[in-house]
Subunit: 241 residues, 2 copies
């Protein structure tokens, strides 16, 4: 199979084309397969996106950077890029996977794309693969929802409740365990009006409050939830603390 | 404060010593603090260890590599290295943290070490920080328990039960959801003799079985567990699927 078009879309020419072929070989096809390259590529991708965000958004704190990164390096984003690259055309799958439509499965596409990044790194250098990754992510990078992503979970929860005229949550210390130099805070986030209580534990009061707020957001925005009857909540989903 | 000794222990001389000082400044000390550098350093560290493992262990599959990495890049390991570097001596903490012994808290030490790696990367290049990281991790890298770490959760669970003459677990498909090309497998791991049942969901039957097995190992090896009355189970703890 010729990889000419794929290399053109990636804007990268392999020295060792076997690496690309391996990256496109799913484990269902037998050994060798792409999972080691995927392990490598996952870390390459994480690092490239981390550097990009760190340099570009000097004013955003680490919580905001983490949320931005999580929104970029996730299965859906990767599967969309993989589809744009027509990756499914090149996949080598076992017969079972092929029959059950594996070549369009988001998880397989996403893993494969990571393996391709791993292969490019192996074939050249981090600098080269960094350029490829930024080119592939440029659309997503330009569309980042900074406004929502850079708020922490407590702020988001407050905003979510205020916009629906629901009283603000209270954060109660349920317990403090451990010796003075190694305390663990157990915090409850209470939204009385909705009869919601979430509980979380953390090394600091602040981190425990944040993750309890995150749990409350998850409950409020889950697809089974009847708490908020509107569609305008997608931005609050999948926020990482 | 002079960082001469610390630089010697790290075997790295900073061009911009302010970066090192920032890396050692905890958020409790006010702004600016080290959390953005920690965000960067966490990814730097992950990437350096990933490359090391990928290159050194060509025969180990991605599951084994993941478990090895998780055993290295975790709070305890980082805190030990930070202690060896005498990092607590250099930390800038707020008064509250200082009084409550924050400079010896493992989480603070570990985060700070990551921030130091981030600072070295910013100060020089990935190649430079990679050398520093490998030097600091050399002891841990040489002591990796390949035998245990490179087994998957199902194999470990089987071994754990066999060594205690307990009948092997059964894996039952409880449910298969989703369209043909996007199925989700719900699997139950049953250890009848111990009356243990764990349940997990995954994109493939294999991955769901592995994570159900992992949950069973967690139950068997938890410190509250009465299932296995021996001390020789530490190697089975904290195995990642």
């Amino acid at each position: 199979m010729s990889f000419f078009e794929l290399e053109r879309s990636l804007d990268y020419k392999f020295s060792n084309i076997n690496l690309l072929e391996l990256a496109l070989t799913h484990r269902s096809n037998g050994s060798p397969h792409n999972e080691r390259l995927e392990f490598l590529g996952d870390s390459v991708l994480n690092f490239a996106i981390t550097i990009f965000l760190f340099e570009k958004y000097a004013d955003i704190d680490e919580g905001g950077l983490s949320r931005l990164r999580a929104s970029l390096v996730q299965q859906n984003s990767l599967a969309i890029i993989a589809s744009d690259l027509n990756l499914s055309k090149y996949l080598k799958l076992g017969e079972g996977e092929l029959k059950s439509g594996g070549c369009n499965r988001p998880s397989i596409l996403a893993d494969c794309l990571e393996a391709v990044f791993g292969a490019i790194f192996k074939d050249s250098s981090f600098n080269e693969v960094q350029i490829v990754i930024e080119k592939q992510f440029v659309k997503l990078l330009n569309n980042l929802d900074l406004k929502t992503m850079c708020k922490d979970a407590k702020s988001l929860l407050q905003e979510l409740l205020q916009s629906r005229k629901i009283s603000l949550p209270r954060y109660l210390i349920v317990n403090i365990n451990g010796a003075a130099h190694n305390q663990r805070f157990e915090i409850e986030c209470v939204i009385s009006e909705l009869n919601i209580k979430t509980k979380s534990v953390g090394d600091t009061r602040r981190s425990a409050e944040q993750s309890a707020a995150k749990l409350a957001i998850d409950i409020l925005t889950s697809s089974n939830s009847n708490y908020l009857n509107d569609d305008n909540i997608s931005n609050y989903k999948n926020i990482k603390v």
